[in-house]
Amino acid sequence: MSDLSYVRKEMLAEQSPPATEIGIIGWLRENLFSNWFNGILTVLSLVFIYAVFSAILPWLLHSSWTANSLNECRQQVDAAYGLAAEGGCWAVIRERYLQLIFGFYPSDLYWRPLLAFGVALVALAPVLFTGLPRQMLWFSPFAPFLVPWLLWGGAVWLPLMVIVGFVLAYVVTRVLSAVMPGLLAVPVAALAAVLWWLYAVAPINDGLTVLIANQRIDAVATDMREQADRLPGEIAALDSRIADLRDQVATSEAEKDALFAELEEDHGSEAARQAVLQAIADLRGPRDALAALEKERLGLNEDLSHARSLLAGIEELPALRERRDALLAEQRMARGEEAEEIANQLATLDTQIAGVVDELGRVGLVPVESRKFGGFMLSITIGLVAITVSLPIGVMLALGRQSNLFILRAICVGFIEFIRGVPLITLLFVASVLLNYFLPPGTSFDIILRVIIMVTLFASAYMAEVVRGGLAALPKGQYEAADALGLDYWKAQRLIIMPQALKISIPGIVSTFIGIFKDTTLVSIIGLLDPLGLSNAIRANTAWNGIVWELYGFIALMFFVFCFSMSRYSMWLERKLQTGHR
């Protein structure tokens, strides 16, 4: 055996790596061509990508943006890119994007949903981004009252009176917890708030409305009479202008069609193509003018019918009130079936009177009915509420499911398993049809509210299971350490358990959020006009009949933008909450 000992005399200096390890070539070798099999896969993938793009790109590039029907889209594409060209007809998006976003919400009130979502964003921002000033959190609790009022409208004091209910509950809790145990004070306070909302809000609202209505009635009547006299003339004038413009547009369109026929005959000479494109471009101005006029006339028509019906209501009001008094007097005498009959008549009469008085005495925003909601506005409304409410409910359900209290646990498990075992569509049908059977007759419960409740409950059940996963991943030692330090159950949950369990569950929670947001499209099944429902409505129009890719592509793109931002946010949040290896 030779000598085994070895001592290094000098340390080696660092050398630069070979060219195959760094730079573009190194990267290519490492990532695309590391062996012959990966090389083949890379080449095949490139071929596939090329095939996809060579099919889609020309279609995207040869798009038409200015036409006003599918047919004209084809004419424009043919004229611009040759008779064989295929191109997207994005003009439908240009014409209908507002409808896809707002549904049938009155166009002069678009500022309200926009403002409402702005308010919601400002309220959520400090919750989502802890870097923002903490004072912003003071505004957040008001958003839940402000947003529905902006969306649905109504008297300015309604949100205030709802807030008063919460204040009342708080005051009652404070007062009662001094004299009785806190566990009893909370339900009593909740009862007080519910009683306030059920039995005090409506009479106060009615009283205020009547008060203001009585003061305004004469001024409004004069105003309406003036409108009813003035508007028909204005409408007639508009009508004649519209008729003229329509003729002009129809003539131009006929000319354009003739030009296109020529183009098809001589197989696309340069001059004929330019002529068709020019004709379509020239149509733009008159068409926009026509659309503006028609919108104006629609507004005037609405004003007129509003003025007329209100006027009729005002004139009828004394008679209605007399009749009501008479019926009330009769009711005192009546017995049995007769009394029931009178009660029914009184109810109809009351709604009639209320219709006029509400209109007269409104201080606030014009109400917008739920069936006018639609498009992304509807999806975002449902999605936003379901997302923000389902997380706390889900946390409570998850805790309930882990509780030692048998009955509480049984209720939570039963709820979660029932909701998860039933398809969302079934629940939506329950919301749209069955729920009315369970409610007392005469109560009308807004359809969007019903849908929101169902979607929220559905999401909560899934959320509960996601959060439970996070709870299960926490080592038992965390509970023990919290207990050993003397933290009670709620403090331990709030300070120790939930921050960690929710952090672990972030990917699952955000997946559920994204799922809920996409599931809002299912409401089209019960007749609400979400973006998909609207796309059907748009295709029912003869001008756009047969258009598919562009509409669904646009809707998909919008959904993707929302869902992708949620996903990016969750990744950012995970990185931010990273506190070193566990």
Partner: protein
């Protein structure tokens, strides 16, 4: 492991045992389902005592000290800690827990909070100490366990020994009257055991009442005033450390000591 935990002389001036009982356990029994884990435990621990509990695994020593702050529930007998009897009354339990500090084998620091936040959380939320004062106390104890410079790091960035010292500081921030140690060095690398034991010795020198489940016999010899040997859920033998190690009485104790001291 017969080597000594510390190489310096221990200052015994404050290590005096009072006449007052800190913990009284009378005829205590506990079952896990049908399994009888703790059988007729009778034990009185006086203020200022430093007790080491040892025994083979599964002998119930961890369960015993976990009963003292009600992490485990006992089914029969009574446990009185600092004059408060442990029953199902949540208020009593929380009161006892805020008087009794506990250090776990696996540290159980809160990984989402910084070292400082770990130490100030319970004083602020349980003792309602103002934040500024809580931070001062926390820094005081972090200095005492010799890691004030780590205050703004997260537990995941510290070594095992450092984490265990933070865990001790976290318990001390609640100003407990009794400290429970549940195998505090068992999950540590050999190099880090000493730094944790040194911290515990310093604590003992200040007169803290301590109950420590450990297999560090050097620590037991140096610091404990009583060693308790448990087997099969029962206290088999207890004595002063010298007598316990040099002259064990029961066969079971002799066997145990020969096994852990023999190699």
């Amino acid at each position: 492991m017969s080597e000594l935990a510390t190489d310096r002389d221990i200052d015994r001036s404050k290590m005096s045992v009072s006449e007052n009982a800190a913990i009284e356990i009378i005829n205590m029994n506990k079952w896990y389902g049908a399994f009888h884990v703790l059988r007729d435990i009778n034990l009185t621990i006086y203020e200022g005592e430093r007790i080491v509990v040892c025994g083979p695994s599964g002998s119930g020593k961890s369960t015993l000290i976990r009963c003292i702050n009600r992490l485990e529930e006992h089914q029969a007998g009574s446990i009185v800690v600092d004059g408060i009897e442990l029953t199902n009354d949540l208020k009593n339990i929380d009161k006892v827990r805020s008087e009794v500090g506990m250090v776990f084998q696996h540290f159980n620091l809160f990984p989402h909070l910084t070292i400082l936040e770990n130490c100030t959380l319970a004083p602020i939320w349980v003792r309602k100490v103002p934040k500024k004062e809580a931070v001062e106390t926390a820094m005081h104890y972090l200095e005492k366990v010799k890691i004030p410079e780590q205050a703004n790091k997260y537990p995941g960035q510290l070594s095992g020994g450092q984490q265990q010292r933070v865990a001790i500081a976290r318990s001390l921030c609640m100003k407990p009257r009794i400290m429970l140690f549940d195998e505090p060095t068992s999950a540590l690398d050999p190099e880090m055991i000493k730094e944790v034991l040194d911290t515990m010795i310093e604590l003992a020198e200040e007169g803290m009442t301590m109950i420590c489940v450990t297999h560090e016999m050097g620590f037991a010899r140096q610091v404990a005033n009583r060693v308790i040997f448990m087997d099969q859920g029962q206290i088999v033998e207890q004595n002063e450390p010298e007598a316990f190690f040099n002259n064990p009485q029961s066969d079971r104790t002799k066997l145990f000591l020969s096994q852990i001291l023999g190699h």
